[in-house]
Amino acid sequence: MYAFDVETPSSVAEAVAALKDEEATALGGGQTLIPTLKQRLAAPEKLVSLSGIAEMKGISTDGGVLTIGGATPHVEVAAQGDFPALAALAGNIGDPAVRNRGTIGGSLANNDPSACYPSAVLGTGATIVTNTREIAADDYFQGMFTTALEDDEIITAVRFPIPKAASYQKFDQPASRFALVGVFVAKTADGVRVAVTGASEDGVFRWTEAEEALNKEFRSDALMDLDINAMNMIGDLHGTKEYRAHLVKVMTRRAINAIG
């Protein structure tokens, strides 16, 4: 790693102030950033650790909305009972040690195309709350490793409208255990949403054709005639584009069946 300082602010305001420095980078749980730093693939002069900020931690439910602090680790999300599909998703990210450190805000700020959380955020139409504004899920994800966040913007919380029913189905990439394909299907107040992670060169996306079909008829058979274009899929040693396109369909079907 290159040399850098680590600051440990105790409030969002302090963190934001520290991040005004152009050479500063926010540090969430570090489960992705630290390995990246070890490879010297990033050279911040200052890391601003968000894990000591109490106001960014914790989970609450109010009026059908689950609010999760940006610095909340996966293990706590996995333990909440108000949104079981999200709990199941969080409980299957990485491994137990990673879940104790990795945070929802860190994952969403990174927006790895194979990460699990983006599918839940997009699949429920959640709201990303930052120190300056609120960003709708549909506006937040802008391609792999790219988001609507400004440089000194911190995800302080994520607000999930708890869907009537939901399921996340993940097919593991066998080495990293990230999603080779993960599909989040939710029955929301505004209709069915289907969000797919792991599959696309453009990162997480909504499979709108499936949503339309499922809004007409919420049965896995509704997908029968749908084909997902393999062209924009990721193709690598773990699976061809065609395989990923196929898995999107299979995982979507499984999610629908799990919802029942």
Binding site: M1, Y2, A3, F4, D5, V6, T8, G30, Q31, I34, P35, L37, K38, Q39, K46, L47, S49, S51, G52, V75, G94, D95, P96, A97, V98, N100, R101, S176, R177
Partner: protein
Amino acid sequence: MTQVTMTVNGKAVSGEAEGRTLLSQFLRDGLGLTGTHVGCDTSQCGACSVHVNGKLVKSCTMFAIEADGAEVSTVEGEADEDGTLSTIQQAFQEHHGLQCGFCTPGMVMATKSLLAENPKPTEAEIRAYLSGNICRCTGYHNIVKAIMAASGQDVSAIAAE
């Protein structure tokens, strides 16, 4: 350099750390606690697993500064003062749950954390919990068996002894 203070295996310690000093480096190089091993650089092998404030973490994926003020437990703190092995350690020895020993400290710490959360885990729960701890020697058979035994389950029906 920053002065970092923490409690390691019940003893107050302090030492200097750079921003980039990992907790694993602080333990190994700073405190000479070389039982915590480093087997990869992508946060997957789990040989460096320790507990920070009672939670299982990969000490190679956390900065020492982030552990300032924390309670840290490493494999060196698992046996009694007189050297008596803990229940988990005894089960690993009894059931040949280790060969080269390199992943073992991480396995012991992961097991401790698993059994604290789930005192009687099933085989499937054990296997799932170990997804962040890679062993290349044992094929996991005897590790899983040892953990079942450490949790007080009868392992006599599990093949091969």
